[in-house]
Symmetry: C2
Subunit: 335 residues, 2 copies
DNA sequence: TTGTAAGCGTTATCAT
DNA sequence: ATGATAACGCTTACAA
C-alpha cells in the first residue's frame, strides 16, 4: 500500500497525494476530495521511513533517561510527550539503567534514527557520547540538573544547593545529629550528599556514622533497611534524617512506625522530590519539591523553538525547587 | 556521513560496508578490519530510515499504553524494554490518555513507522483501530486484561474475577457493608466493579450508597475525597472498602488516619495492583498482586517468537493474580 | 494547481 | 568473498 497505489486509484500523480497529506493548502479542493477518498478507501498509511529518507526530517525526538522504574522520570516524560505529541513529533525513549556505557550504546541507537532533537538526563555523559551528540548537530537539552558546560541547552536545578538548603534549614530548626540516607548514588544523589556535607561542615558538625549509602537500587524497602543501618552506625544518636529521595524517606518513616520511633518526636525525616504520597502520608513528609513536569515541558519547548528556526535566548535555565516543610520535621511540641 | 563515504575511505564498495555491519561473517577478516577502521574514524552511524526502507525491517516495536502517569504501566514497560532492547528492537511508545479516539490516532502514527510488532493495552479498541491493526499484519499482543476475542495474541488476567474473589473473601471474613471506590473508570476498573457487584449480589447484599466513583483521574488525594463521599453516602454504615487501585486505597487509608477512623477496626481497606507501598505502609494494605513486569516480558517474548518465525502454541495467556491479605483487612482483635 | 524526474541511504539480487 | 545495479516509498526541485 503506497503513495503510488493511492495515486492510481485517485487517478492523480503520486506527488499530488503527498501534497494532500503534507500541504493540503497547495491542492485544489476537488483534488483533495478525490485523493482523500482514495486514501480512506485503501486505508493508506504513509511510510515514515521513506518520508524521513526523502525529506531528511524524521519527526523523531530522542529521549534518554536512566530508569523506567523511577517515577521521577515519568513526570518529566509526561511533560515531554504532552508538548512533543501535539507538535507532531514522535518520542523515542531509551533507558540507560544508570550506566554511562549503556548510555553510549543507546545514544548511538537513537542517533541512527536521525532524531531531529534530543533530551538527555544529566551531564555525566562519556567523552565519546558527548562527541557523538555534538557531531549530530541536533538541538539537545540536558535535563534534571544544572550542568556547568552543557552540550547545547540545559534545564534543571542544583541538587547540591537543594541539599545544602534543606540541611541548613534542619540545623536552624534545632536538629543536631542529622543523618543521610542514599541508595543508587547517581550523580544527582551525589550532589545532594555533597550539599548535606557542606551544610554540616559549615555548621561545624561531624557526620561520622551518620551517612549510610548503598549502590543498590532505591526503594521503599531499602529506606527501611537504611534506617536500621543508621540507627546502629550512629549508636542511636541521630535525631533527623535527610533521605536522598522520597521512597527512602517513606521506607524510613514506615520502619520508624514499626519500631515505635516517634516521627518527628524521636526522629525527623525529610525526603526529596515531593511525590504525591509525601503530602498525604501521616505524618506528612517534608521534601524538596521539584517541578518535574515543567522541566519536561520547558525542555521540549526549547528544542521545538530551535527546530522552528527561532533563537533560544536563555540556553541554561535553572528551574529551581522549593522546600516543603511538613509534619515529619516539625518541632512543634504537639508532634 | 553515509555508507558511501565509509566505503570510499576504506577503499571498498558500499555493500561490503553494509555487510561488515550486518553480517560480519560474510566478510573476510582483513576487509572487516579495514572497514571497521573507516567506520570508527568517520564516526559513522547507519541511517535506520534507509535501512528500514530497503530491507522492509524497521526494528521497531510499537507499544500503546493509556497513561504515562500510572505507575502500573511502568512495570509492564520495563518488562517490554528488558526483552526488546537486547533483541535489537527499538520501542516506540505512545500514550492514549485513556481515549479510544486518541488511541486511533496513535495507532495510525505508530503504524506509519512500520513496526514489526505491537503491544497494546486492553481490548477496547474502536472498530477502526482494530481494522488497521489486523490489516497491518504484524503480530500483536493485547496486554493487561484477558480479552474475549483477541486481535491476535493476549496476555492478561480477569479483572472481574479478581474483584469478585477479593470481595467474596472480604464477605467471608465477616465484613458486612463493603463499599467500592473508583476513579477514571477505564474498562478494567469497570470489570473490577462488576466483580464487586457480582460478589455482593451472590451474597445477597445490597450496595446502595456504597459505590462511589468519579471520572476524574485516580490519585492518592482522590482516594481521600472518595472516602469522605462514601462515608456520607452510606451514612457511615460501611465497614470495608474495595478501592479500585492502591492509590485510592492509600488515600482512603491516610484520610481515615486523619479522621481517627481506625483501620481495620472501624474500616477495612483493600486496594488493587500491590504497588510497593502496599506491603510497607502501616497498617499494611491488602491488595491484589499482579505480575505486571512478567506480563511485559511474556508479551514481548511472544511477539519475538513470532518474528523469529516460530509458532506460539498458546495465543491467550492468563497470567493470573494473587490476593494479598494484610493488616488493613485483618479481623484479628489486636487490630 | 499539477506533474516529471531525480535522488535520499540502504539492502536484495544477481553477478563475478 | 566482493561488487554492480536496481529497487524501497517518498519528497525536492523544477517544469508545465
Amino acid at each position: 500500500m503506497t503513495l503510488a497505489d493511492v495515486a492510481e486509484t485517485a487517478g492523480v500523480s503520486a506527488i499530488t497525494v503527498s501534497r494532500v497529506i503534507n500541504q493540503p493548502d497547495k491542492v485544489s479542493a476537488s483534488m483533495r476530495d478525490k485523493v482523500q477518498k482514495a486514501i480512506d478507501k485503501l486505508g493508506y498509511i504513509p511510510n515514515r521511513s521513506a518520508s524521513a529518507l526523502a525529506s531528511a526530517r524524521s519527526g523523531v525526538l530522542g529521549v534518554v533517561i536512566p530508569s523506567l522504574s523511577n517515577a521521577v522520570f515519568n513526570d518529566v516524560l509526561r511533560g515531554i510527550y504532552d508538548v512533543a505529541g501535539p507538535a507532531g513529533y514522535q518520542v523515542l525513549l531509551v533507558d540507560t539503567h544508570y550506566s554511562p556505557m549503556e548510555e553510549e550504546r543507546m545514544v548511538r541507537t537513537l542517533l541512527s534514527q536521525a532524531p531531529e532533537a534530543m533530551i538527555i538526563t544529566g551531564g555525566d555523559q562519556t567523552q565519546h557520547t558527548r562527541k557523538m551528540l555534538v557531531k549530530s548537530g541536533v538541538p539537545i537539552v540536558q535535563v534534571m540538573e544544572t550542568v556547568e558546560s552543557p552540550i547545547d541547552m540545559n534545564v534543571g536545578f542544583s541538587h547540591r544547593q537543594a541539599g545544602y538548603d534543606l540541611v541548613t534549614r534542619l540545623l536552624a530548626n534545632g536538629f543536631d545529629r542529622i543523618g543521610f540516607l542514599g541508595a543508587r548514588m547517581d550523580p544527582r544523589a551525589q550532589q545532594r550528599m555533597l550539599g548535606y556535607k557542606q551544610a554540616m561542615d559549615t555548621a561545624g558538625r561531624n557526620y561520622d556514622g551518620l551517612i549510610v549509602t548503598t549502590p543498590k537500587p532505591s526503594s521503599i524497602a531499602m529506606g527501611g533497611e537504611l534506617l536500621r543501618s543508621v540507627m546502629s552506625s550512629s549508636n542511636g544518636v541521630c535525631d533527623a534524617l535527610f533521605a536522598c529521595n522520597d521512597d527512602l524517606a517513606l521506607g524510613a518513616l514506615f520502619e520508624c512506625q514499626r519500631m515505635n520511633i516517634s516521627v518527628p518526636g524521636d526522629m525527623a525525616i525529610c525526603g526529596f522530590n515531593d511525590i504525591e504520597t509525601a503530602a498525604l502520608v501521616n505524618p506528612s513528609l517534608s521534601s524538596v519539591h521539584v517541578p518535574r513536569y515543567e522541566m519536561g515541558v520547558t525542555a521540549t519547548e526549547m528544542v521545538l523553538k530551535v527546530l522552528a528556526g527561532n533563537e533560544v535566548e536563555n540556553k541554561k535555565i535553572d528551574i529551581g525547587y522549593t522546600i516543603q516543610m511538613r509534619q515529619s520535621t516539625s518541632t512543634d511540641i504537639h508532634w
